[in-house]
Amino acid sequence: MREFLTIDIDLCTGCRNCELACSVHHTSTFNPRRARIQVIRDEARNLVIPVVCLQCEHPLCMEACPTGALDYNEAGVLTVDEARCIGCGACVTACKYGGITLDPIERYAIKCDLCGGDPACVAACEYGAIQLVAADLDGLAIRDHNIARVATMLGIAQEEQQ
């Protein structure tokens, strides 16, 4: 079954340990800018928003890729084929959620690959804010709840109601 990460921002303290764990897993170094999960902070507005790939049903990033570098691996997770990626950034523009970005050193696209089923960020989060859930009704409900919270915090939900 397909799986994805979902984050409860009410539990997130913005410590960014998930970024560190992710960078260790993927680069064997401590380098948050190369992490596939990012915590966006804007202290002036009390915003702490973790961002990670939603593993979409219909990935806009894959559609936008001109070289076919984004494809599903054996486990069914959409991943970047570094050899085919030309670093154009079309996927970054296409993604509505900031779930894919360019590696600042290697210049190819990077996105969450769920670490082969045992995500390093989930283990590293001392506050239990990150969950790996199955893409079934329960999992989707959890994600729906968590996204609604982010929308409320950003003021988007209120705007839509008006």
Binding site: T13, C15, R16, L20, T27, S28, F30, R33, I40, Y127
Partner: protein, 643 residues
Amino acid sequence: MTFPYKGYAGKYLEVDLTKGKTIVKDMVKEWARLYLGGTGISSKILWERTGPETEPLSPENVLVVGTGPFTGVMFSPSGRMMFASKSPLTGIWAESHSGGFFGPEMKYAGFDLIVISGRSPRPVYLFLRDGEAELRDAQHLWGRETDVTTRMIREELRDPSIETAVIGPAGERQVLYGSVIIDFYRAAGRTGLGAVMGSKNLKGIAASGSLPLEAYDMEKYLEANRQEMEKLRDPLWAESLGSLRKYGTTDLVAIINEIGRLPTKNHWTGFYEHADDIGPEIIAERYRIAQEACHGCSIGCKYIYRVRDGRFASAPAGGPEYETLMAFGSNCLNNNIESIMYLGKRCDQLGMDTISCGKSIGFAMELWEKGILDASMTGGLELTWGNIDTMVELVEQIAKREGLGEVLSLGTRRAAEKFGGDAWRYAIHVKGLEASGQDPRAHQSVGLTYATNVRGADHLRSLSSLEELGYPEIVIERFGKEKADKILDIMSPDYKGELIWDMENLYALVDSAVICKYGTMWPPVYYYETFANVLPHLTGMTEWGDVAYVRQASRRIAHLRRAYNHRLGITRKDETLPHRLLKEAMPTGPAKGGLPDLDQMLDEYYDFRGCDKKTGFPKRERLMELGLDYVAEDLEARGMIAK
């Protein structure tokens, strides 16, 4: 030879503001081997480059901005960094540490340390990115408050992920306790290092980096890290961590008032009858809106508050810590929590230490009560206890150095000299640094901590929680069964010399690593073994795997900082307590009647430290066995070696 060790960024930056030059240099191998990082390396640099002739606010003074090998590499809690210099407030050794995100970012930007000297002809700020440094014009930032400054820097460099260390108007005007504000509401508050930056026309430092930090052996390092974290997760500490996560340091208002140690009415007593009004439950229930953590921290003691309406209504901001609640609250007999939050936030925006600022106001309030100050000297302000209007006005005046604020911006020691007469009796400081929120009349070893602290009267160089909160197993393990009962007796002076000597050594390492006091001070989990377990795998320095080497290094750093102060004239006569805390028995509360037996504790401390009891000067052989030959030679020539 290039710098061989991992965990470090491997480079440091030399900044000469007079010439407008920045030079990138390789880190020095011996610095890491002998002094580790942060406080340790800073003490070596400042020993070599500053001394008795250095005026703190002159171009000659040197400011070190430091991180340690633990910064930014997932050790929890490690999201910290530090500053060191010669203090304009006290005239002696100065260091101040802060949490947040700037320290790790500075390392990802490529630098372990920044060594800043000179004075820029016009305001500038330093920008670090991926191994490069640039001095940028800051004339448009000069005069701006700290939060506005950070927003403007992020906007002008089009990088929202930039982290900053900046000063506000108080530092620019050289208020002697001007602070450096990190990421909006975390502060390197103490000892006036913001004033040092102001004197150099340096508005701030901004960093953004995508450079990697490596471990010598990543797998073994992560495993050692996991083992240490496991100790912190022991059910034994569940309550402590739960409290830190729910209340942060505000919980201390209740814990400390309960033992009668909460400074109240300018340290007149240690018990505040309205303590419940200023924390912790009221904050958690009414004002707290979120929990936060420093970089990579699993404890998460920081909180965000919001005052929704009324005079002190505020957008969300970092909540006041225990020390701020004490300084603007109990110590000024002010039980209006919303005003304390406001005053704390103003100090962050203006860039001032909340402790020294609040304590200077409390001091002035007592002078008013005693008739030493009257309306003719205060510009008409009434300094009655708990007068919120006056406190709000004074904070602004101090930052501007106007009116009564001009004198109070000098701190209590110098203000007392200006006021003359009996004013000195009410200036609660050691070596010129206003006392933090403890009282030795309710906790003997605090007296020794205050007296021997290299930067003055505060708790962060050697406070012991072992007897305060009662951890018998740990006391027995560290000091032996036969001493345990006496050590655990908070009002007994026995064996406190050894206890505080050990704490001071341990914290010298904590401040060099650079990690947080939480996890070491409270809960008391990490000890010398922690460093021996983790450092070799992280850095590749095998010698640090030997606990004896780790302990020796801790003593080396502690001795070097003390020697720095001796050279400036500090001796046993300065290692004392203010009159009130030494001679006036605690008048009310649970610790009523208490007084510290300072001389007994000091004698024992000097014995353990290897110092002469009359002067406090170190013994030559003690310095030699720590590899501090150059210190021994220097002190010998000045007649500052124990006979």
